[in-house]
Each structure stands twice: as structure tokens, then as C-alpha cells.
Symmetry: C2
Subunit: 220 residues, 2 copies
């Protein structure tokens, strides 16, 4: 039992270490020796758990997929579907800032030298499509705006934040996401729900006393 | 003179071939032999023009930068700064669809295995910032929307279209860009100019008889 637990911990350390190295160097350049030594294990232990670098990348993507599922599941808590979308983008941005496994999983989706089975951006797109369909159905999305057009804009912008954020974390900041939603929500929300929506998200650091989106002023 | 011209043509063929290979495989995996044989020249000719793979990538980025300059220069023709921005995003998307050099130049900007001197996404961001400052100054941008927030949304979305478009060209289609602007322009444009703006761009395939953005209906 203790042995099994140790094996699980070694595997997890290898997945984290691989995510760090893929995140810094990309898949093709990453060396298995760097990954194992960063995890504090031997090359032999690495090969016991993973037959190849591709198997390791697959494990990173799988772990990242589970974390993306957590983001989108938490993003279904609010009864207002548009608020769910706002909250999930904040959670995703925080995850990409703080969690190297999630970041590496997204990076691997566009790494030409690694053709994995998963594509986290496609999974994110599917979730955004679903939640907007819900917003369309329950009338929180304004009638004059097609849900599909909103999906295009939101998925493109969040993927842009993710890619630009890899070089400059400002793109993934709480403030950037809040400003994005302050811009977009008045165009998307049905007039009756606009005043109840929080561009800063309901889980955000200033969620308690933040201004509602209808009342933000012009920046200096 | 003929010899010099031949040398220039060989150099150009190598830059195009390198762009194709970088675009497909990424910088680190790309082989110089594949690049030279695809250009129809010897390895020796490649090394006569370029000392290293990094020098070749630098030449691709330089050529891509010139093409981006053409996009943004053409995007200053319209007296309405917001229309300039719309037109330039359409031109950029068309360029990324059709021109492998421009596409490879943008890709190299986020390739972890190649640390070049240029970053086309940063150059694009600077241009978007400038044109929005102009729109803010001349009153085509509505007063209630900070130019900096519009910059964040437009740069993130266009970078998203670029990255997603590398796997699925629909993201860079004329229709996708038009729908993006149909969504955004009513939130950005000062009421007096909204009716004069064309979400489909003034250079687009249907520019002659396209509907103005104020009057689009809900999609089926």
C-alpha cells in the first residue's frame, strides 16, 4: 500500500516536472533527463511509468483536462448562464496563471511537434457553446445577438489571453478579464439581467464589494 | 546583374520554403535539408545565404513583418479610424489564410524553441493601440468605452483567430471576422458613426452591396 502510494507520488511528480519543462521549452526540445532530475527521480523510474515522451505529454494533457473540467463544473453553479460564463473565464485565467499543468496542457494543443489525442481548446469551445445555448434558452442572452457569434468572440479572446499570457501574464490578470467583460456584457445581456451580472466574477478577489457592470466609469 | 537577380530569387525561394516547413513542423523539428530541397536548391546554396536555421527564421520573421506593415498601412486609408481597424483585421485574417510567410512569422513569435528579436503580435498590438487612440480622439469611438479595453479585446480575439485558424481555417474566414465585428461595433461606435461602418470591411468580397451593421438580423 505504502509502495503503491509512493509510485503514485512519483508519477505525479513526473507529470508536474514534465509540465514545467514542456511549458518552458516546448515538447520537441524537452529532455527526459531534465524532466526526471527535476522530479528528483532516476531515468529508470521515469521509464517505469512512461514508455515515451509522448506518453508523458499525454499524461500532462489528461491532468490538464481534469483541471479544465473543474473550471467548467464550478462554472455551472450560478443560475444565470452568462454569469457562469464570466466566472469560468476568470477561473480559467487564474488556472493558466497559477497552474503549470493546465498551461502546459493548453500549449501542447498547439504544439506542431506533438500530435496528441486531446485538444483542450476544442473542449473549452464546446463548453462555451453549451453555456451560451443555455443563456439563449433562458433569455439571459439578449435576443438581438446570435449565441454562435458570442461563442466565436469569447473563445477567440480567451485563447488569445492564454497565448499572449504565456509571454506577459498581464493578459491573464483579473483586471484584464474584468475589463473584457465590462466591455462585452452590455452588448450580450438581456436588459433585465444586465444589472445583476458581475464582470469581475462572483469568486473574484473583490467580489464582495465590487461595482456592478452597468456603472463603471471611464478610466484615467 | 543576372547573377545578383538569381541570388535574390534563390534567397526568396529559401525564405518561402522555410516558412512552409516552420508552419508545418515548428522551428525545432524543421530540417535544413527539407527546406533546401523544397526550395529546389542545394544545402550549400542554403548555407551561402543563411549561416544557421535561426538566421533563416529571422529572415522569415522579417519578411512577415513587411507583410504585416502592408496590412496596417492599407488599414489607414479610411478616414474613420474604427473602419481602418475593421479593414485591417480582415486583411490580416486573409493574409494568415493565404500567405504562409505571414502565418509562419506569427507562429515563430510564440515558438518556445526559437527566441527571435521580433514579436509580430506585439507589433500588431501597438498598431491597434494607435488606431484606437485615433478613434478616441476623433470621436468615432463612443465615450463610454475606454480605448484600452477595446484594444485588449480586439488584440486577444485576433490572436485567438490566428492560433485557432492554424488548425481550422474557419476561424480566419471572412464570415467569422464579419460576425465578430457585427457583435462588437454597436458597443464601440459613437451613435453618429455606427450606420456608416461596415463590419464586412470596405475591401471585402461583398463590400459593394453588403448590409450595414445596424441592420443585421438573428441567424437561423
Amino acid at each position: 500500500m505504502a509502495k503503491q502510494e509512493r509510485a503514485l507520488r512519483t508519477r505525479e511528480a513526473l507529470v508536474n516536472s514534465a509540465a514545467e519543462v514542456f511549458d518552458c521549452e516546448g515538447f520537441s526540445v524537452a529532455s527526459l533527463t531534465t524532466i526526471s532530475s527535476r522530479a528528483g527521480v532516476s531515468n529508470g523510474a521515469l521509464h517505469f511509468h512512461f514508455a515515451s515522451k509522448a506518453a508523458l505529454a499525454d499524461a500532462v494533457e489528461e491532468a490538464a483536462e481534469r483541471r479544465l473540467d473543474q473550471v467548467t463544473q464550478r462554472g455551472t453553479e450560478d443560475p444565470n448562464a452568462l454569469q457562469c460564463l464570466v466566472d469560468a473565464t476568470h477561473d480559467l485565467a487564474r488556472g493558466l496563471r497559477e497552474d503549470v499543468v493546465l498551461r502546459a496542457g493548453f500549449c501542447l494543443s498547439s504544439d506542431q511537434s506533438y500530435a496528441g489525442e486531446r485538444d483542450l481548446r476544442v473542449e473549452w469551445r464546446r463548453w462555451v457553446e453549451g453555456v451560451l445555448k443555455r443563456a439563449d434558452g433562458d433569455g439571459t442572452l439578449t435576443e438581438s445577438v446570435p449565441a454562435q457569434d458570442v461563442m466565436l468572440a469569447v473563445v477567440a479572446a480567451t485563447v488569445g489571453f492564454e497565448v499572449l499570457g504565456a509571454r506577459d501574464a498581464t493578459w491573464l490578470s483579473y483586471r484584464t478579464l474584468t475589463r473584457f467583460w465590462q466591455l462585452l456584457l452590455p452588448r450580450l445581456a438581456a436588459p433585465a439581467t444586465l444589472d445583476t451580472l458581475r464582470a469581475e466574477g462572483v469568486h473574484g478577489p473583490r467580489a464582495g464589494n465590487a461595482a456592478r457592470i452597468g456603472h463603471q466609469g471611464r478610466e484615467p
